[in-house]
Assembly symmetry: C2
Homo-oligomer: 325 residues x 2
């Protein structure tokens, strides 16, 4: 079995070896650009770790891991256009560095290459099962992004709707990747489903943690600006829960802070955080996160794989979910 670092190095090498050399350069330069500006490479690592639970010959899963990373970056590219984001990982987004048309078309070709690499596997009898997982996941990712956009102008978002949105937008791709890894490694159908459930629950927990960190994180340790979600009136788990629990007076207070304009941003962030504290939102969100985390690990232990083999995945998941809050 390979360690997480070994797997990460292996994948990084595959990524470098598979830069797009095709023509026209105007189409493929932006693809290489977005793939080169980093990120945690979490999705391919999880796919490879999942594969490794069932088979040692990890090289066989590298094209699929690459496919998942290319697809993930395609979604980032198109999402950045939709969000009008100027920066991604501290670097200019593709549509800013190049232009809108480049952003659209290079994203499109990335999606096709994701399918292309996904089906580059020796044992072609596995292709239908893998495609079935991937199509479902890719559709849900688009649906999740649409719900996310819808929620910006929707004033009665329910917490269940929010949880389903983050499940689709974030969790299913982690889950689908791990399921594909399991299928490639010859897991049985039940195991493939269990690993999907594990990763889906981890993904939701991870996103809930992101919500918590965005408001309560240590500015030094959290990569993004703390309070950004509040400043943007983002309908996170925290805000939706606060509205659910607040009495009429507190709800009015919350609205007063939310309606504050940009020039009173600090006051706004402090005000909303104050309401959150009154309602114990941080503790409630943490409990919700832990609920998903617990569920995830239950699925992992049901797999019937020796606990020795689960160590790396468990450690990675715990690290992901134990960031300083």
């Amino acid at each position: 079995m390979q360690t997480l670092s070994q797997i990460q190095i292996l994948f990084q090498q595959y990524l470098v070896d598979h830069q797009f050399q095709n023509k026209p350069q105007e189409l493929y330069d932006p693809v290489n650009y977005i793939l080169s500006i980093g990120g945690k490479r979490l999705r391919p690592a999880l796919l490879l770790l999942s594969y490794q639970l069932f088979d040692e010959d990890i090289d066989k899963a590298l094209p699929a891991a690459f496919a998942i990373e290319v697809f993930h970056n395609f979604t980032l590219l198109h999402d950045d256009i939709m969000d009008e984001a100027p920066l991604r990982r501290g670097k200019p987004t593709v549509h800013h560095k190049y232009d809108l048309n480049t952003g659209i078309l290079s994203g499109d070709v990335m999606m096709i290459y994701a399918y292309d690499y996904l089906t580059k596997i020796q044992d072609s009898t596995k292709i239908p099962a893998i495609l079935s997982v991937f199509n479902q996941v890719a559709i849900e990712v688009c649906e999740g992004q649409q719900y996310d956009m819808n929620f910006e102008s929707k004033n009665d978002v329910k917490i269940t709707e929010y949880l389903d949105m983050i499940r689709q937008k974030t969790a299913v791709l982690l889950a689908g990747g791990m399921k594909i890894g399991a299928i490639l490694g010859n897991a049985n159908e039940k195991q493939a489903d269990q690993i999907y459930q594990f990763a889906e629950n981890i993904g939701i927990a991870f996103q809930l943690q992101d919500d918590i960190l965005d408001t309560f994180g240590d500015p030094e340790k959290f990569g993004k600006k703390v309070g950004g979600d509040i400043a943007q009136n983002k309908k996170t788990f925290l805000l939706l829960k606060a509205f659910e629990l607040a009495d009429e007076d507190l709800r009015k207070e919350l609205f007063r802070f939310i309606d504050m304009k940009e020039d009173r941003e600090l006051e706004k962030i402090d005000g909303v955080k104050g309401v959150y504290r009154l309602l114990n939102i941080k503790e409630i969100a943490n409990k919700e996160k832990e609920k998903y985390q617990k569920k995830a690990f239950e699925y992992l232990h049901k797999l019937g794989v020796k606990s020795e083999k689960l160590k790396i995945i468990k450690k990675l998941a715990e690290e992901l979910l134990d960031r300083e809050i």
Copy 2:
């Protein structure tokens, strides 16, 4: 064997029966919209006709025909954004009727559904071969679109480059669709390649004819405004050939017309057409078109399919390529 009309009715019914009912509506309404505003449904018809050369049970090929039509409409949707087109088939384009983000995301999900329907086939052993054709085609369509955009600002476009661009942008999707039809119908590998070559050559001939019609067509019969390519300085086969053949004086004359602004559009169109006439560009373009048409039919006859069976395809191809010039 079914007639072309029967096939068209069959496909139209499949299209109606497979409207997207999924949620969120904001994502799928634009998909149904663009699929509903018509077009000739040429690509699915060709796929089904190709299937019918080898097998009678045409229902089996309907999901793939639908996939090709969905993919084609996805490319139209994203191309319309890139071209800033307000209208498509006389109706508002998706990004005009809805907005940019809707255009991007609904297009994305269409591409995924194209893959989804493409792999909805009973005999899953055929999936790898079909995907291999489709991935290649889809990549080339994106590359062709990029070259088309590049050529707008490139001043030394060669005719071979132009022909390769229209091959990628237009012809390979017709070709790939027919090849997929053949594979589904159990054609052998050689036949599948020959039908690909047939359609690729028909596609190039079709696009050349479009160039000719845009300039020399009968305004009453041609759907679009005659002279539009000239007004927009589009680097068509006609213009590139004229530059190739013109002597220095005539080239200067051509540049004089090209540089005319919008307020002198009619003069510009007449002037460029005058140069084309001096150089016999219409006849040369027609010969070029006929070269591809002839090559196409040679591939068709090599198939080893009874000539009786080829009748519908031949008639359709001839109708497509014999529009009034």
